[in-house]
Every structure is written in C-alpha cells, then in structure tokens.
Amino acid sequence: MIDLIFNMLMIFLLITAFFMVFTKDILTSVITLPIFGAILVVIFVILQAPGPAIAEAVIASGLTTFFFVITINKTEYEQNE
C-alpha cells in the first residue's frame, strides 16, 4: 500500500516539475514551486527523514517562494516566450 502511494507521489513530483518548467506564464510556474516542495515533504516523511522534511517545508517551499514572488514584483511581469 505504502509503495503504491510512494510511486504515485513520485509521478506527481515529475508532473509538477515538468509543468513548472514548460508552462509559459512565469507566475504560474512560481506558484507551482510550493506544490513541488509539499510533495517532496511527504516523500521525505515516507522515507523516515523528519528533520529534512521540516527544513524543506519551511525553507525550500516557504521562504524561497517569498523570494521568487518579490523578484517578479520587482521586475517587469512579462510572458515567457
């Protein structure tokens, strides 16, 4: 059972990563970043690593998203061609 959930989470991780890279709108891809991080957190908890899971949840999917949003706010919001 846990193997099935784990494999499905891996596939979701790949789907979010590909969506993040290949979507045209840059704001959409920035908002996909915390979803990617959240799936990674669940994978870490399944793999028995609670310390890196908490760090990933707080830093990589929380703070980094703040930084990206501030950068988009500062630069011109333009479509990626």
Binding site: F6, N7, M10, L13, L14, A17, F18, M20, V21, I26, S29, V30, L33, F36, G37, L40, I43, F44, L47, Q48, A49, P50, G51, P52, A55, E56, I59, A60, L63, T64, F67, F68, I70, T71, I72, K74, T75, E76, E78, N80, E81
Partner: protein, 111 residues
C-alpha cells in the same frame, strides 16, 4: 525503490535542460532549485533502509535509517535557500540595469 532513482535522474536532467535552454533568468534560477531538490532526494534515498525507523532514539530500535546523509541534506537545503536569495538579488540588479531578463538580449547588449 527502482523507480525513484529514475525519477532522480529525470529531475536532474530537467534542471540542467532548464538552465541551458531557457531564455528567462527567473526560469533558470528555478532550474537550479529543481536540480538541488533532486540532489536532496538522492541523499534521502541513499539514507533509507527498508523497515527502518527515523533516527530519533528514544528507546532501542532494531533497524535505524542512516543519519549522516540526512544531516548533509539539511545542510544542502539551508545553503540552497541562501544561494537562491543571492541569485535573485543579482537578477533584480540586472533588470534594473538593462531593463530585460532575456539572456540573448543581455548577450547582445554586451556586444
């Protein structure tokens, strides 16, 4: 666990492809983030042993997962966050100076 190593490879190559082929600098920084996440995932996958418990030993356990790659992963996450912040600050600086985020246009401006 075979499929997860293949997922690590795909994520790593996706990050490298984003860095070398995308035109937008913010997307390139995102490629760095994906690459970093794949490396952290690899460290955690190496640390896992089937049937193990997390390395918090409030009593004696039979099988415990490897604590060293987890400590290294923690280090990688924290350093990755600060490096991303520096890269984004340089991105804002470039935009204020040249008024564009396209890499090709930046190269043409250099001459």
């Amino acid at each position: 666990m075979q499929i997860s190593y293949i997922a690590v490879i795909i994520l790593f190559c996706l990050g490298i492809y984003t860095i070398i082929s995308n035109k937008n600098i913010i997307k390139m920084v995102m490629g760095f983030t994906i690459l970093e996440s794949s490396l952290i995932l690899l460290l955690i996958l190496i640390s896992y042993t089937p049937g193990g418990t997390a390395p918090i030993l409030d009593r004696q356990y039979e099988i415990v997962v490897d604590p060293i790659p987890q400590a290294l992963a923690l280090t990688t996450i924290v350093i990755g966050g600060s490096v991303t912040a520096v890269m984004l600050a340089v991105t804002i600086k470039l935009y204020k100076r040249y008024r564009t985020l396209n890499v090709d246009k930046l190269r043409k401006l250099r001459g």
